[in-house]
């Protein structure tokens, strides 16, 4: 009868469902969200593009552009690990609401202004 007493107790307490999107979850430190690029510190060494397990990053050295395809990215954070600059130019942000209606919007391109 232990299942019964627990069921009746739970009937009178708040349900444990989080009411998203009114109630957002707590993001812990070190969460691996969308990849962001810091254009001021990047030295264009191409380490992140070479080491990406799925080849999601493309860099154009002449035009100074850095692009990532979020559809291919697996959010592993290896680009952050291999970046040689201090502070790191590639890092995980806390963005996780990334849905789009059009797959072309997943290809993000950033440019370093001269």
């Amino acid at each position: 009868m232990n299942l019964l007493t627990e069921a009746i107790k739970r009937l009178f307490s708040r349900p444990s469902t989080r009411r998203y999107p009114k109630q957002k979850p707590r993001i812990p430190e070190g969460f691996r969200g969308r990849i962001c690029w810091n254009k001021d510190t990047c030295i264009f060494c191409m380490s992140c593009a070479i080491n990406c397990p799925v080849n999601a990053i493309t860099i154009d050295k002449e035009k100074k552009t850095w692009s990532i395809d979020i559809g291919k990215c697996i959010f592993c954070g290896r680009c952050h690990d291999v970046c040689p600059t201090k502070p790191k130019s590639v890092y995980n942000s806390e963005m996780y609401e990334l849905s789009e209606y059009d797959k072309e919007k997943f290809k993000l391109m950033f440019k370093k202004e001269q």
Partner: protein, 390 residues
Amino acid sequence: MHDYILPFGPQHPALIEPVHIKLKVEGETVLGSELILGYNHKGIEKAFENRWWQKGVYLSERVCGICGHYHTTCYCNGIEKMMGLEIPERAQYIRVIIGELERIHSHMLAVGIVAWEIGLDTLFHYLFRDRELVMDAHEFLTGNRVHFVMNVVGGVRRDINLLKVGEVEYALHKLDERFDYYLRIFKNDASVKNRTKNVGYLSKQKAKELSPVGPTVRASGIDYDVRETGYLAYKYLNFRPVVGHGGDVLERCVVRLKECKQSIELIRKAFDKMPEGEIAIKLPHIINIKEGKETVSRVEAPRGELIYYIKSAGDKPSRVKIRTPTYQNFHVLDELLKGVSIPDVPVIIASLDPCFSCTDRMTIVDVKKKEEKVITKHDILHMRDGEHEH
């Protein structure tokens, strides 16, 4: 009476992943079964051959959703053995801690699925509610709820500081009481015992012949657990496997719950004994291993013994062969499904805890694979053990 074929087929509400089991049924009794795998074939073993050693670690995690950490551990252990490296002690402890947390949530899912198959969805919802505590602990430690690639070749990527220890300790404290509660339900509740006791009985003799692995074989009285060989930090933690003697579905669920409790103890011991130090050996991004070198590494995944055979071709592997525990457990299914009635079929399948995503990397069901290899059993043992005695 006529007999007919009931396709427990690729599409079924009781199955989480597609598999085709053809049941030959007469009335409500099953006369025999036939297993057809291959619906989840992803071609991962081929994809390993194009990636450098470090990149392959991220691929090996995606073989399975629930036991991904064990796949990376096995792969990294194999590579480190080939290079002759010994990773720092703190890294060994961190690998064990993350692994034991993953074992807890995998077992909770397995018992929850058994509870749903017997028609009691209340227990399923309670187990999944408590599993969220473990997922939150994972997110706090590694940054992700599933597919947390904590392992790199040479150690781990992130460290555990005191704040994180506090969060995990909170989750473990709550889980300890809940596991006592679930063990009480499985001991006392009459309607649960009615559907799980003496169902799918596997005797010790049959288990020795068919050799399943994991909690399936430990519930039949045989104490076979790879963690006893003392890889990683298990040699410092004084580990003894959990063994049950019932052999039926009830005993397998109870063995899983007791292993969860044992995992909580192991994590607490690991937190106490963890020494300070480095968390990884600095290695270049592209590693070179002598061509033609091969190795075998084993770990104890939640479902049983997981084996990786790796052969090197310089800076990438030339062949990776994965033997997952579910693949080994399927041979028992044919024996267990003889003469049961239809209501017991999904309960028995769920009690073996199948993970078809891990299993389907081959489309041919081949039992006698050991005889077809050129290398002998002595060579395999030598590759597995390396220098130390077993």
